[in-house]
């Protein structure tokens, strides 16, 4: 399973450029699709085992050993990693298929699939690794692939700097991850999760007593905030939309950005040790969900709306993790992978059909021209805003129920966020597909009118349809009244300390569900009333405060960027220029002055040298005589 994408990556790396479009794409798709098939087989094998033995650890070899530290290269197949693998490989395969059509005729066609396959490999490594260090390798692997793919069209300035931004924000999180690894190793003497001496980290939780667990969890949260775009490190994700749309769908919606949530879920026994850490996670998640949702209400770029929506949804997952309801987090993660990938691919189809137009205000009435895209995108829309009985309703409902059980205050904010979600997604839907066309006229800034949009080719529609079906029916894996064979019981061995609540009384559950549905409907109806009609310029509803992302970037620029630049300038001109260069130049100058003085001694006349020798001799003799007489 792990090796197929790696093989695909290597094959494409060597021959990709030669086989080109579209064979390279098919090779990449086949590698990931094959990986999905293998994942299914392994999954079947895992299901064959009794529930309490579903943990298969393979150590292939020792990567390095030093003192007490021994880092094996090993995999850990358990219900959690299996769930991740299934949806990662499945969604990846669909997006690869879609990319064959979307990236058609791109100059670096084969390079795109090289990166994509490397990404899938790294992501699988991340989830399958049986120790923290190997997970970190995968973590960095997906980070670097993300960088490559965001900056894929590197001739564009915006893409190149967006790539850098993502890289730097992730670096901050990675520092947290590394420190957490060090601290865990310092306290427990191992980096493996459940295998190895002493039963791994989870076998030695007693060593993580007191404040240690809280510090570890906060460091892991920092790592997760970087990778999963949470406050305070969330602003890289919207900029990452400069990458090709399939990349946004795969990396920046479905898989990589959920790695942070996965990491926290993986470390759940440690999380369980610290109530404070859990609360911080829940608060951060809720705050992110709310802030990102407000920002999404005012964005004009179709992909940026979806990006902030992703940030917001991952905030929900964090809230679930903070509530101790890991199953709810994973459930929402899987469902989110389905419907957000669907939405991104649908947006890609729209962008494709409108010749790279991404401005919502320049769309409209696409339902008449892109039937398949409209239908599938609308399913994604209904799913994400949580209209029953689509997948989003159940997944988000799970999160909200659990938040209600643990943090009623946060539940209110989360419910408000659900209204906002419905609002901005409906605004997106109406502006894109509803009403009359706005793309056939010259734009407000003189953009030329577009041709009549065209529907995407079949190869792009197939993934859309499959994902739409999954968004419609994906919830069957965890319906509240079918828990005997659901995700929850499947994941139970991993989440031994899971505080997943479905023990709410049925009346309460119904009321909460009803509240979710009402929130969705209220937001949606409001948006539809507000945004239908020809007038699309409503500045009152798109305040600059929200358009500029709560001035978050500006604040960073002011607090960190400018002083750093000033510090750098100080270093460059004063420290480097005066002190360091001054010292170097001073030594050289000294040598020069000495040399100039000393060269006068070199007359070139042999007699002068001879005189020097004679005088030296005389001095020497005088010295020795003086020693003899007075010594």
């Amino acid at each position: 399973m792990l090796l197929l994408p790696l093989a695909g990556f290597l094959v494409l790396l060597t021959v990709g450029r030669r086989v080109g479009d579209p064979i390279a794409g098919w090779i990449g798709t086949a590698a990931v699709g094959g990986s999905f098939v293998v994942a299914c087989i392994v999954f079947a094998g895992l299901l064959g085992l009794p529930a309490d033995q579903r943990l298969v650890v393979h150590n292939y070899y020792t990567w390095f050993a030093s003192g007490g530290l021994s880092v094996p290269v090993g995999t850990q197949v358990d219900p959690l990693s299996m769930t991740m693998c299934l949806f990662i490989t499945g969604v990846s395969a669909l997006i690869h298929l879609y990319s064959i059509g979307y990236m058609k005729a791109d100059r670096d066609y084969s390079k795109f699939f090289v990166y994509m396959n490397l990404f899938v490999f790294s992501m699988l490594l991340l989830v399958l690794a049986n120790n923290l260090v190997l997970t970190f390798v995968g973590w960095e692997g997906v980070g670097v692939c993300s960088y490559f793919l965001i900056a894929f069209w590197f001739e564009r300035d915006a893409a190149a700097s967006a790539g850098k931004k993502a890289m730097i924000y992730n670096r901050i999180g990675d520092a947290g991850f590394l420190l957490a690894i060090f601290l865990i190793f310092f306290k427990t003497g191992t980096v493996s999760y459940e295998s190895g001496p002493g039963g791994g980290i989870f076998g030695q939780l007693s060593h993580l007593g007191g404040g240690t667990a809280t510090v570890v969890v906060l460091l892991l949260l920092l790592a997760a905030a970087g990778k999963s775009a949470q406050i305070p490190l969330f602003n890289w994700l919207p900029d990452a939309m400069e990458g090709p749309t399939p990349v946004s769908a795969l990396i920046h919606a479905a898989t990589m950005v959920t790695a942070g949530v996965y990491l926290l879920c993986r470390m759940n026994p440690v999380l369980h040790l610290t109530a404070h850490g859990m609360t911080v996670i829940a608060v951060i998640g809720t705050a992110t969900a709310f802030v990102a949702a407000t920002i999404a209400c005012a964005q004009q770029d179709i992909k940026r709306v979806l990006a902030f929506s992703t940030v917001s949804q991952i905030g929900y997952m964090m809230l679930a993790v903070g509530s101790g309801a890991y199953t709810a987090a994973i459930f929402l993660m899987v469902m989110h992978a389905f419907f957000k990938a669907l939405l991104f691919l649908g947006a890609g189809s729209v962008i494709h059909g409108l010749e790279d137009e991404q401005d919502l205000k320049r769309m409209g009435a696409l339902r008449r021209y892109m039937r398949w895209t409209t239908v599938t995108f609308s399913i994604g829309w209904l799913a994400i805003i949580g209209i029953p009985p689509l997948s989003g309703f159940w997944a988000k409902g799970d999160v909200l129920d659990n938040a209600f059980a643990h943090y009623p205050g946060l539940w209110v904010v989360a419910l408000l966020t659900a209204v906002l979600t419905a609002y901005y997604m409906s605004r997106l839907e109406v502006l894109t597909f509803g009403d009359e066309p706005r793309w056939d006229t010259v734009g407000p800034h003189g953009e030329p009118a577009h041709h009549t949009p065209h529907e995407a080719p079949l190869i792009m529609l197939v993934p859309l349809v499959v994902l739409a079906v999954l968004s419609l029916f994906g919830e069957v894996i965890n319906l509240p009244w079918a828990h005997t064979h659901s995700l929850n019981s499947f994941l139970a061995p991993v989440f031994s300390a899971d505080q997943y609540v479905d023990g709410l009384t049925t009346t309460r559950q119904w009321v909460l569900g009803l509240a979710d549905a009402v929130a969705a409907v209220v937001g949606a109806v409001f948006a539809v009333i507000l945004w239908r009609g020809a007038a699309v310029d409503k500045p009152a509803w798109e305040p600059a405060f929200l358009q500029r992302v709560w001035y978050w970037d500006d604040a960073y620029d002011l607090v960190i960027g400018r002083p750093s630049q000033r510090l750098a300038a100080f270093c460059a001109w004063v420290i480097d220029g005066r002190i360091i260069d001054g010292a170097v130049n001073g030594v050289a100058h000294l040598a020069k002055v000495t040399g100039t003085a000393a060269r006068r001694l070199q007359t070139g006349y042999a007699r002068n040298y001879a005189l020097g020798i004679a005088l030296g001799m005389a001095l020497l003799v005088a010295f020795m005589l003086s020693r003899t007489w007075w010594g």
């Binding site: 001694l601 070199q602 007359t603 070139g604 006349y605 042999a606 007699r607 001879a610 004679a614």
Partner: protein, 101 residues
């Protein structure tokens, strides 16, 4: 009558001084060479004198080494002088100031 060692040492000092001053004041390379030979031989005389006075054969043995080295030095030195004369048609030491800084 036999002269005491001091006479020999005095002669040696005089010869050495003549050589040293000659080396410093003369400009002709060949003369300067002869002056060097004078100094070397003055040193040899000193060695022999002390060997006799102290009854130590080592001083006389050193003289042989000095003679051999002096011969070799003359060969090399005259070779250089001849080669240089062919190139620059001069034996004046002050013309050879290529090492001037």
């Amino acid at each position: 009558m036999s002269l005491s060692g001091a006479w020999y040492l005095g002669l040696s000092a005089i010869v050495f001084t003549i050589g040293a001053i000659g080396l410093l004041v003369r400009r002709n390379v060949l003369i300067m060479f002869m002056c060097i030979e004078l100094m070397l031989n003055a040193a040899n005389l000193t060695f022999v004198t002390f060997a006799r006075m102290l009854g130590d054969i080592g001083g006389q043995a050193v003289v042989f080494f000095v003679l051999v080295v002096a011969a070799a030095e003359v060969v090399v030195g005259l070779g250089i002088v001849v080669t240089n004369f062919r190139r620059r048609a001069t034996t004046v030491a002050d013309d050879l100031d290529a090492l001037k800084g």
